[in-house]
Symmetry: C2
Subunit: 193 residues, 2 copies
DNA sequence: ACCTGAACACCGTTCAAGT
DNA sequence: ACCTGAACACCGTTCAAGT
């Protein structure tokens, strides 16, 4: 049983090194400058030509997906642990918070994911993340509905989108922590009476 | 009593014509290509050099604000009419819908407005729109709270941001009408029980 | 097989020269 | 007073030439 990261044929050492260096530098640039940061600058900082970056990652979303891979699997694992909670309402709440944190990692991270949802293109490297997270959100919502902790007539996809839009507001920097807390409350309890 | 559009000193005819033409073309480009559309292309389509566009509108947000001016005043007027409704809960709902529609006009319109909120710069040409709309939202919310149609512990600014984020999702095209309706329901009544 | 970096196309923005 | 458009800086992306 071979690991997914190490293919059968051995790779040239510089290829592995370049790829790792690009990912490391890209992570820093995404964090500092947001998702729209200059890929040319990333390549230069990583000490490779732009062609090398594009060879490894054919487009921005591919690079983004690779940079996020570790965080992504962490989130999926957290979802599995939260599935064991007895209070399914609390599990749903905590899950939505985790999704929100994930999409708040870099400025503008929500947008390419919404594009992935719109395009419905399974080749979009961010599509799998969306599919997995929407699916998990559905599970949490269904469990909460079964236990009378969530209303009917809502889809997991809806709550995924809601968490996403909270992350979008947070990452723009226009919304402080207190406002985020209130907005979460509005999502959970509504503004109406 | 002179109209705001016609200053005391008469302007050269070509200046007036250029400005009007730029606004007309920009509106079409914003509609077709979103807020991030190429200003160079707008200038070319309007038959002026890029310098002329920048002379009239020093930056993208200034052009955007001018293009939206008519819609903006329409929205403010609608707010005044809605203020006469007896059912303050219904007035709040309709107002939030109108705000949502406003920010759905062009793809990406929500984002520069959130930036205006973050920057807290009164010179930002979009700041006045945000201030006015937040202020109006507060009035509607307060009235609804007084009549027992809205919960306490929420700010008008919160609901303005919520409407804005709905518009953001709509304008990305990832969210269809049915989903938008459900998300509005979540905002009003919450997903929890 | 992989990398390099020049090259192309495009855009935002400024400003010297025109009228 | 206003307009023009060349010019500069920057970026995404490709691809012929190298190793």
């Amino acid at each position: 049983m071979s690991s997914a990261q190490s293919p059968a044929r051995k790779q040239r050492a510089d290829v592995v090194r370049n790829r790792a260096k690009i990912l490391e530098v890209a992570q820093n640039h995404f964090f500092a400058g947001g998702v729209g940061t200059s890929l040319e600058a990333v390549a230069k900082d990583a000490g490779v030509g732009p062609g090398t970056l594009y060879r490894h990652f054919p487009n921005r979303d591919a690079l983004l997906a690779s940079v996020l891979e570790l965080r992504r699997t962490d989130l999926v694992e957290l979802g599995q642990r939260l599935g064991d909670l007895d209070d399914t309402g609390e599990a749903l709440r905590q899950w939505l918070l985790a999704v929100e944190d994930y999409f708040s990692l870099y400025i503008g991270l929500s947008e390419p994911h919404l594009s992935a949802i719109r395009e419905q293109d399974p080749n979009n490297p961010l599509a799998r993340t969306c599919d997995d997270l929407i699916s998990a959100t559905s599970d949490f919502l269904l469990a909460a509905q079964r236990d009378g902790h969530a209303r009917e007539g809502i889809l997991g996809r809806d709550l995924f989108l809601a968490a996403n839009s909270l992350a979008w507001m947070r990452s723009t920097g226009a919304v402080d922590e207190a406002t985020t807390v209130r907005l979460r409350g509005v999502l959970e309890n509504g503004y109406g009476i």
